[in-house]
């Protein structure tokens, strides 16, 4: 349903997080078309991820995390399909089962007093230390957003950190036949 003042007040469906995966022709301006549709029609983008997934066919996969009622999200899907270079739109929450993961890189301010605690925590979360030429403490953690959130919360309680996150990517885990 739209959010205009004309909208009927009886809409009750609750706002939920949705992961949309959009296959597009990898041509100039395609990302602008997709995100422009979101901003132009007043929808939300919580995170966005784009990468080419097949070199030969020139196709990119855009993963968008958004939130909204099921009516809003269904309208988002249909508006995305109107965009000429869009091949397909899949709502992974409707597919039933999917797996998602994201990567975070964490620069940790380390001192003699917190060093032990930091390494213990990183170990617990299986965060991996990334060697670098300046020999600073940078950890990489991958996994579901929830897990990354928890890690960041806990490390923040120990010391100061700087964080960069990729935002989630996701794929359907339903069994497919090879011909498809």
């Amino acid at each position: 349903m739209n959010k205009s003042v004309y909208a009927s007040p009886d809409q009750v469906s609750e706002t939920k997080r949705h992961i949309l995966t959009v296959l597009v022709d990898n041509e100039p301006g395609v990302l602008a078309r997709v995100i422009g549709m979101f901003s132009g029609r007043g929808y939300n983008i919580d995170s966005l991820n784009v990468a080419e997934v097949s070199n030969d066919e020139n196709i990119s996969r855009i993963t968008i995390v958004t939130h909204g009622t099921s009516e809003v999200v269904s309208q988002i899907e249909k508006q995305l399909l109107r965009i000429v270079p869009v091949h397909s739109v899949t709502n992974l929450d409707q597919e039933g089962s999917s797996v998602e993961a994201e990567v975070a890189l964490v620069y940790i301010y380390i001192s003699d007093t917190n060093k032990k605690k930091v390494y213990q925590l990183c170990d617990l979360y299986r965060a991996r230390k990334i060697e670098n030429e300046n020999n600073t403490t940078i950890f990489e953690i991958a996994g579901a957003s929830e897990r990354v959130n928890r890690f960041i919360k806990e490390i923040n309680e120990i010391t100061k950190v700087e964080i960069v996150r990729s935002g989630p990517v996701a794929i359907s885990s339903i069994q497919k036949n090879e011909e498809e």
């Binding site: 349903m1 003042v5 909208a7 022709d25 301006g29 078309r33 309208q75 000429v84």
Partner: protein, 588 residues
Amino acid sequence: MNNEITGAEIVLKSLAEQGVEVVFGYPGGAVLPIYDTLFKQNSIKHILVRQEGGAIHAAEGYARSTGKTGVVLVTSGPGATNVVTGLTDAMMDSVPIVCITGQVPQHLIGSDAFQECDTTGITRPCTKHNYLVKDVNKLSSVFHEAFTIAQNGRPGPVLIDIPKDVQFASGTYEEKNKIIIPSHRLFEPSPDFEKNKIEEAVELISQAKKPIFYIGGGCINSGPKASQLVREFINMVGSPVTMTLMGLGVVGSSDKNSLGMLGMHGMYEANMAMHECDVMINIGARFDDRVTGRLDAFSPNSKKIHIDIDESNINKTINVDIPIIGDVKQVVEKMISIWKDKKYKIHTDSLKLWWDKINKWKEVDCLNYNNEGKQIKPQHAVQRLYELTKNTKTFITTEVGQHQMWAAQFYKFEEPNRWLTSGGLGTMGYGFPAAIGAQVGHPDALVVDIAGDASILMNIQEMSTAVQYRLPVKIFILNNEYMGMVRQWQELLHGGRYSESYTDSLPDFVKLAESYKAVGLRAKTSDELDDVITQMIETKNTVIADIWVTKEENCFPMIQSGSAHNEMMLSKDQKQDKKSAEKGKILV
């Protein structure tokens, strides 16, 4: 053998192969190579407008009156930004347009060069698709794809931005039939598409006691055959039918089933029937806010069938029971064959009761107005125009405002593609250039722009175009010296404070016409009206007819914003209750 040609030649060759006969445009630095090529050929005619905004509305008028794709050619920078309104208009009203813009040479892109702008960036939200062509060898395939996309599925505007160096560069031309467009870039329903839903829908219609067909512009876009099929199906069912502003003409005004237009200024009987129906069959309309009024009170007790080629229109504002995605022509054809096969028939007694009820509503005579006095009533002017032109092949265009609604209410359309108006975007200044485009497409027809005194000034410069090409377009101005619709809203919703809606210092329209070497006519009183209209029709030249109408006439009936279909205002005396008027004020 070297069969390379220049980019500019590829442009012209592509247009020729696409069957383009006429281009509306305005030259400038970044399109000079294309204009040079245009000069050297004879197959494509160019209509020089006086402002790019006029070019695109003219192309829209041409497209909507002929069913072909309208083509626009303008330069970079201001040329491109001036067509943005028209592109948005074509997007909202689903008009097939291919707009070619020049761009600064590639090595200058991004340098803030003279007359540079990010054309593809600016036009992305107001086109169906757009291209910046960097490789001359891709130019022909881009053109062929652009024409296909403009016409395919729900039609719309497509823009092609061509840097000047690409217009000069040499490359190879590829023919239309050598281009393969991947299927995901187009909408191609299979013949059996939605078969079950169509069967379900026809069965639902057959069980209806109070059906109504709600017809929109999609039926016109689907081609003249679609209108024929829709008429045939409605006749078989025996159901009443109402049309949106964009759908006027799909079913003839004189058709016994027609209730006329619905919506904000629609017919009382049409809106009441929409409110009380039990089965609503929406064909090619999109539940626009001008049609639905208050959503939570929209046709509360009906099952709704919605046929649309654009899936995003389904459940966008109104939830429907049976959505059918497809082309009107194909879907209705299938509906007819199912209706015949299953020998469906609507229950005669309940249908009769339904029509009795509707005929009672008709007795309200909602278009009734007081036609006393010597002054010309605007409604009367449109009625006389209709009576005096109904036996001629006539195209009516309009600007936007009160005159547009009076034209929709009082001019009776019997055929599709004869009525050209800016519905979705509501663009003042649309009507006159659109009339020019329609006249270019139909040189022998009568083309009348029913205008208001404020709207006509928005593209008045096109007088020069009309006269240059000897286009006998008639401008029929309902002159009340106000922006009438603005004034009406100010009267009804803003305590009669007519803030900036009175147009002081209007030109003398007769002298204005004469200064362009056109003909100017004026009617000040009712007894002059018929003579002026007759003279206007008989003049084989561009005419401005300045019709002085009563200044403070309001357009009724009216559903005020925020009200429901059964809460129509039939006259000024019938005030809306204060609470819902306050609520409606924030709406447009």
